[in-house]
């Protein structure tokens, strides 16, 4: 008798941040999910590096998911960086993530490549 059972791992609460400096240019690679639970971690990571860079790239190549909590972190960061004239670029976001920026109109105020 055959009954197919496959276990599916829950992918949430899995967020990983990689920091990479190229001289004064900081690249944050965020993997996994940025949701209400993990957004604080991202905020802390950004705050920790504040003042150490003159250019910031956030790489969403391996980001699966972002919610409004993640957007909030990005908006706060952008607000701070605008005052210091530090450019922020978001790279490699997938279609789902891009659609979130588009829906909220953030694509107009944050540089998304």
């Amino acid at each position: 008798m055959k009954v197919n059972i496959k276990s599916i791992k829950n992918k949430s609460d899995n967020m990983n941040i990689l920091k990479n400096y190229n001289e004064k240019e900081l690249t944050l690679s965020v993997e996994g999910r940025i949701d209400t639970l993990s957004s604080n971690e991202l905020e802390d990571a950004v705050n920790a590096e504040m003042g150490n860079f003159d250019s910031m790239i956030i790489d969403f190549k391996d980001l699966d998911y972002i919610s409004s909590a993640g957007l909030r972190v990005l908006i706060i960061t952008q607000k701070k960086l605008v005052q210091d004239n530090i450019p922020l670029v978001i790279k490699n976001a997938n279609e789902d993530v891009k659609s979130v920026f588009k829906t909220t109109g953030l694509n107009n105020i944050i540089n998304i490549e």
Partner: protein, 786 residues
């Protein structure tokens, strides 16, 4: 006793009996040295009961006595003996000729009328004897007759009583005489004879009076050929020993004692004999009359009242009640007859009670007829229902299998404990490749169960064709069954869908007995998938579809608990294990006799009456599996037990679609619960936008509503996911919140508020309601992923 009674049918025996009694009394007379001729005491009753033959006996003994004693005038003595005999014959003749008010019966004392009859037929001959002999012979004869008359009456009564008591046959007239003279002439002659006798007795005319004897004897001789007015064939035998018989015999017993006492008194004080006829008559009559007036007459009057008021009504009642009462008409006739019974005492009450009883009897009789006809009607209807129910289950499995190129074969059996039952099985075509087969058991038996069964089987067919997913189909069936709110204890059912090309089976087990499966000819084993709830018990419950793979020669055996719960005389159930062993013992390849084999074993196990409905169903894959390359998978999941042990919430049965039912989960208002919520939602669907909606709404409620709990209901149906968030926090309608303007510069951008925007944008439709202190937010999201 019977042999003794039969003796009285023989004339010779009667003659000898008569002679014996005569001799005994002659000897008694000699012994007592009395001048009375005691023979009269027995000859009168003997003649009354056994007729002329006993008269011959009397003559024989008398002649012998004359010869032995010697007589001054033998000829005269002989003639007087014969004359006496002839005169006494009147007793017998009169009994059957006069006073036949109650019909002509054999001598009996069953009523007062017959007592009077006995008195009269004894006194008439006595008067004739005296009338004939007075003036010829010594007065001894007359004295004899008068003195012995009371004791003769008593002895006659006793004789009649004994004949009745022991049912001894009597001698009835055998020959009817021709009616030579009109009936009235005989009566007149009899009256004339009595008159002549009285003249002779009371008016002594010396020698001339002797002449009158000749007409008297002539009259008697003529009267003896008087035809019996009832005819000899109408003489009824009456040996009924009733209450009256017993009363009379006790009275006469007392009379006997008194008479004996009186006779002894006479004997001792030796009344002078030489008186003339009239004086003797008067003196003797004085004794008799004293007895009668003082004792017999009041008794007879009392008896008359008793007879009229008690015995006669009761006899009539008995006779009336013995009639057959079949209809209302019979009853009315009976009522009329009973009402006519002339009595005003307790018998009336009895009669009335009997009437009432009879009335009830008729009524109950009618009721009973109605009930039994009603029962018959029900039986007929049940028979029809049985036929209808039988016609609802498919019969022609061969044709059905042919339709699918004989890729499988199946066999089935169903037997209800009563005419109709609550078990059901069915197999039906769903589409070109799929067949459905189902077995089930509506709890209970008989008519209610069968009606539920009919409804269930119809719904299952309908919904199985309508919905691709069996769990969805059963979900709908269950809800329809629950709608009726009838008190039933659920319907168990096992519903399967077989793809005849691939051999893949989808199935749902709604609280039914675990079927037996035989895979790879390894013998039958029980399935161990989890059972869902029975149908028709709780609304909106979900069912799980499981799958399995059938290859060539794999079999599924379905049954109901009527099989496994069948008990033998020791109340041991047949049991699952025995069923499995029996199936495995069957080594023939012929599928059509598997069920017979099981049934045979079951019958052998319990030879008592079938208590519950029994159903069996077996299906076997025959081929066509080659197209389906799945052999590797089968080896992966061979052990059925694995399935049951999966309790890890992270594990989700991929092949199992549980989408149809509404599932519900409750949370504390903590953001960390989001992980669990995500898992819950991923049971239905994994979709970016769905995740986003769920998170935004949940986080919003947790942050702002100040509630105690959050309930999330989810349902996936026709590519539409419905999510409902319920919380008891402050009222908040997100639909009323105006969307913020899209920002132009980072300085203008608000930090929050994006969650609601996202939710609205991602959802297909949102409904909000505030009910009973709860926010109800319903979100519809079309998704075709997964």
């Amino acid at each position: 006793m019977n042999r003794f009674k039969d003796l009285f049918k023989s004339n010779l025996f009667i003659l000898l009996f008569s002679i014996t009694l005569n001799v005994i009394l002659e000897l008694l007379g000699l012994f007592l040295q009395t001048e009375y001729d005691l023979v009269i005491i027995v000859i009168i009753p003997l003649i009354l009961l056994w007729g002329p033959i006993t008269g011959i006996g009397f003559c024989v003994v008398q002649f012998a006595a004359i010869l032995l004693n010697g007589s001054p005038d033998p000829l005269f003595s002989a003639i007087s003996v014969i004359l006496t005999m002839i005169l006494n014959l009147l007793v017998w003749k009169l009994w059957y000729s006069i006073m036949n008010r109650y019909g002509c019966e054999t001598p009996n004392i069953g009523n007062l009328y017959n007592i009077l009859k006995v008195l009269i037929i004894l006194f008439i001959p006595a008067i004739f004897v005296i009338g004939t002999f007075i003036g010829y012979t010594t007065e001894v004869v007359q004295t004899n007759i008068y003195s012995l008359m009371p004791i003769t009456l008593i002895s006659t009564i006793f004789f009649i009583y004994f004949v009745t008591r022991f049912k001894i046959p009597v001698y009835t007239p055998k020959k009817q005489f021709k009616q030579i003279l009109p009936k009235k002439i005989f009566s007149i002659l009899l009256a004339l004879g009595i008159a002549l006798c009285l003249i002779k007795i009371f008016m002594p005319m010396n020698n001339h009076q002797a002449v009158l004897s000749i007409p008297i004897v002539c009259i008697i001789l003529i009267y003896l050929i008087n035809p019996y007015d009832e005819g000899i064939s109408n003489i009824k035998e009456n040996y009924d020993l009733n209450l009256f018989n017993k009363a009379i015999i006790s009275i006469f017993f007392i009379l006997l004692v008194l008479t004996v006492f009186l006779q002894i008194h006479n004997y001792l004080f030796n009344t002078p004999i030489n008186q003339n006829g009239a004086e003797i008559l008067i003196s003797s009559f004085r004794n008799i009359m004293t007895l009668f007036i003082l004792f017999l007459m009041p008794t007879l009057i009392y008896l008359y009242i008793l007879e009229k008021n008690v015995i006669m009504p009761i006899n009539k009642l008995t006779k009336t009640m013995s009639r057959k009462i079949d209809s209302r008409e019979d009853y009315l006739k009976l009522e009329k007859d009973l009402k006519s019974i002339d009595t005003n005492n307790e018998i009336r009450t009895l009669v009335d009670s009997l009437l009432e009883l009879e009335d009830k009897y008729i009524k109950y009789g009618n009721d009973l007829m109605e009930v039994s006809s009603e029962k018959k009607r029900l039986e007929t209807e049940l028979k029809l229902a049985h036929d209808i129910q039988e016609s609802m289950t498919p019969k022609d499995s061969e044709e059905f299998c042919n339709r699918f190129e004989n890729r499988f074969e199946l066999d089935s059996f169903m037997e209800a404990a009563h005419e109709i039952g609550g078990n059901f099985y069915d197999y039906f075509q769903i589409d070109a490749e799929n067949i459905g087969f189902v077995i089930g058991d509506a709890s209970g038996r008989g008519i209610p169960a069968s009606l539920i069964m009919v409804k269930t089987i119809t719904l299952i067919q309908d919904f199985s064709r309508q919905y691709n997913d069996l769990s969805k189909a059963l979900y709908e069936v269950n809800n329809v069954l629950c709608e009726d709110h009838i008190e039933i204890n659920g319907v168990s059912c096992w519903l399967g869908k077989l793809n005849v090309k691939t051999g893949k089976v989808y199935f749902v087990n709604a609280g039914h007995n675990q079927p037996l499966v035989c895979l790879n000819v390894n013998g039958f084993e029980f399935m161990s998938t989890e059972q869902d709830n029975k149908l028709a018990s709780v609304e909106n419950i979900s069912f799980e579809t499981h799958t399995m793979q059938l290859n060539k020669n794999d079999e599924i055996f379905l049954y109901t608990n009527g099989i496994t719960k069948a008990e033998n005389e020791n109340l041991e159930p047949y049991g699952e294990e025995r069923l499995r062993e029996t199936l495995n013992r069957y080594d023939n390849n012929d599928l059509s006799s598997v069920i017979d084999f099981v049934k045979e074993d079951l019958d052998k196990f319990c030879d008592n009456d079938q208590k519950d409905d029994m159903t069996m169903f077996i299906i076997r894959m025959k081929g066509g599996i080659e197209d389906f390359d799945n052999i590797g998978d089968i080896e992966d999941v061979e052990n059925v037990e694995d399935v049951e042990n999966v309790e890890n919430p992270d594990a989700v049965e991929v092949d199992v679609k549980s989408y149809s039912a509404i599932k519900s989960i409750k949370f504390n208002p903590e953001i960390s619960e989001l992980i669990t919520l995500n898992e819950f939602i991923h049971n239905f669907v994994e979709d970016f936008q769905v995740d986003l909606i769920v998170e935004e709404v949940f986080a919003n409620i947790v942050d702002y509503s100040n509630c105690q709990y959050i309930i999330v209901n989810a349902q996936w149906e026709n590519d539409m996911l419905t999510l409902e968030f319920i919380d008891n926090g402050i009222e908040f309608n997100p639909l009323l919140k105006t969307d913020p303007e899209k920002p132009n510069s980072i300085e203008d951008t608000p930090i929050g508020g994006l969650g609601i925007v996202l939710t609205k944008e991602m959802s297909d439709e949102i409904e909000y309601d505030y009910v009973d202190g709860e926010n109800h937010l319903k979100i519809f999201k079309r998704t075709n992923s997964l």
